[in-house]
Amino acid sequence: MSTAVNLLIFGLADGAILALAALGFVLIYKATAVINFAQGEFLLVGAYTFYTCFVIFQLPITVGILVGVVVAVLLGIVVERLILRPMIGQSHISIIMVTIGLSGLLNAIVQMFFGTGVRAQPAVLPSPPVSILGATIPGNRLLAILIAAIVLTVLTIFFQKSKHGIAMRSVADDEQAAMTVGISVRRVYAMSWALAAVSALIAGILLADITAVDLHIASFGLMVFPVVILGGLDSVPGTIIGGLTIGIVTQLVSGYLDPGLAEVIPYIILVLILLIRPYGIFGEKRIERV
């Protein structure tokens, strides 16, 4: 029992963070139909930026986060401006390749500044042991869940309510037509990349806090794929469901079955889901009408 609870909550925490990471990914896809292979590196940059402020410059947490946000926004804008805008109108797969190149580049840059070693960072989230139904849970997990939940809801609402939601989908559907109704494609692109970077930043900080500040953080980028596909590439609620599902299932598998299997189980689930629902759980069906 306690084990189950325990696994469940850790799974939730992972899932929530994954969902955050995936959210940025989905935003980019929604607006630009680009798959961003550099999402993992966005996490990395986020984590290290914060580390720099918090540990190296000894700034208070809040300031650290603010700086982080600024950096993230800048990163998003720069990437959009320098790398993706020139590619507007090119085949998606070439653009995907560019993001792959980008991931290599960012990773290398972080490495140049911080090397390959682990960096010690004092706990950001307080972590008093909380006991739930006989399981002892470190408080930081619960907080992580909370924070992720807040950020996710805020962003979700932002996109349902504000006109940017529709603007993004329009751009994704038909850039030219979007221009003719007065939507600035560039701004939408920049915005989605910036937001993606910000959500990645938060995910990165949380991740770094519950694990450690080192290059392994980037490897979470890969986990994003099963998450987004599960939920549907272009669905924000989907990412949340996807994130939580993957988080919990992997946790349970490594808890009750072969831990090594936990690495692939997300992909197995993914394939099964896709065979039943080719566009993920909430994904939008691509329209092919003649």
Partner: protein, 353 residues
């Protein structure tokens, strides 16, 4: 081959259907032949070994391009299929004692079958969803390879005995040279097969599926069948590449077939040129040589920029990433397109536009 010839008139459809038609093409072909014949004499073992790796990559890249570039089914599963080819051939050759040519042939078939199986989702999935599904197949295949003790007799890796069939044997002294000839011939055959494929109906139906699958169905193309065939043919090539890797490097373990490999191959065909056999070749060569060149450059740069010296590895990766980005921004349609433009330029030279 894509260059539009000027002042060239065909007297028969047959002549028009040839691969090399214009004088210019024959000349280029001639030069290329000379170059290829000269290589083993001018290059030392190290560079020859890189050429050999490139030749294997050519086979694999063509395979991937058939699927991604020509049929429009993005695949991140390359690494997994390479693994299938490699293990199959090795196990058949070294444990079942099959002669290597046969073991390689059966590796091709087995991989084709496996590829077709993992292609099944492609019947329902489109675009990026399929891409991720193939990513899944990569991870799953690799997991199986990793866990299935029988494959490696529990050692995690397999030694491959030196290539030897019907009296022919690779000698240690001339290792790279002998392999060069073998790989060169195979690569050329692979290119020819691919080219033939796409000047005949079957290949065209792949491209039709890529451009407009509904219309394809409406003119009588069995889309499902076309996709699966594409997966099979493509995986066949990839399996061949895998088998060659195994016999050439003489030891295999799953660590050789990770996702990075899949991505590297994707880079080859995109940088080379999607939907172009020539592009696959350029791309394979380019991506194989790039890191080597970059390292050289990095060391050189490190020479007078000591702070870089400390950062060499990171610097190398940075440059690698940067090259890919810049390259695609400048020419998203790949090396092949650049080459075509050059040829056109001289084709029309001195008259432009």
């Amino acid at each position: 081959m894509a260059a539009t010839q000027t002042g060239l008139h065909h007297r028969s459809y047959a002549s028009e259907l040839r691969i090399w038609t214009s004088r210019a093409q024959w000349i280029r072909l001639g030069l290329l032949t000379v170059l290829l014949l000269a290589l083993p004499w001018v290059l030392d073992n190290y560079w020859l070994s890189i050429v050999n790796t490139a030749l294997i990559a050519v086979v694999g890249a063509i395979g991937l391009n058939i699927l991604v570039g020509y049929t429009g089914q993005i695949s991140l599963g390359q690494g997994g299929f390479l693994a299938v080819g490699a293990y199959t051939s090795v196990i058949l050759a070294d444990r079942a004692g099959l002669p290597v040519p046969l073991s390689i042939a059966s590796a091709v078939i087995v991989t084709a079958v496996v590829g077709t199986f993992f292609g099944l989702p492609g019947l329902r999935l489109k675009g990026l969803y399929l891409a991720i599904a193939t990513l899944a197949s990569q991870q799953i295949i690799l997991f199986i390879v990793r866990r299935w003790g029988w494959l490696t007799e529990g050692r995690g890796f397999v030694d491959v005995s030196r290539l030897e069939f019907l009296g022919f044997r690779i000698q240690r002294e001339t290792f790279e040279q002998q392999w060069y000839w073998i790989l060169l011939i195979i690569a050329i055959l692979a290119v020819l097969v691919a080219v033939n494929l796409f000047r005949s109906g079957l290949g065209r139906s792949f491209m039709a599926v890529r451009d407009q699958d509904i219309a394809a169905a409406a003119i009588g193309v069995n889309v499902a069948r076309a996709k699966l065939t594409a997966f099979a043919v493509s995986s066949g090539f990839v399996g061949l590449a895998g088998a060659l890797t195994a016999h050439y490097t003489e030891v295999i373990s799953w660590e050789r077939f990770t996702l990075d490999v899949s991505i590297l191959y994707l880079a080859m065909i995109i940088v080379g040129g999607l939907g172009s056999v020539a592009g696959s070749v350029y791309g394979a060569v380019f991506i194989t040589f790039l890191p080597v060149v970059v390292r050289g450059f990095a060391e050189f740069a490190g020479g007078f920029a000591p702070f870089l010296q400390a950062q060499l590895p990171a610097f190398q990766n940075a440059v690698f990433g940067l090259v890919i980005i810049v390259f695609l921004i400048i020419e998203p349609r790949g090396l092949n397109h650049i080459w075509t433009r050059i040829k056109d330029y001289f084709g029309y030279w001195p008259f432009r536009y």
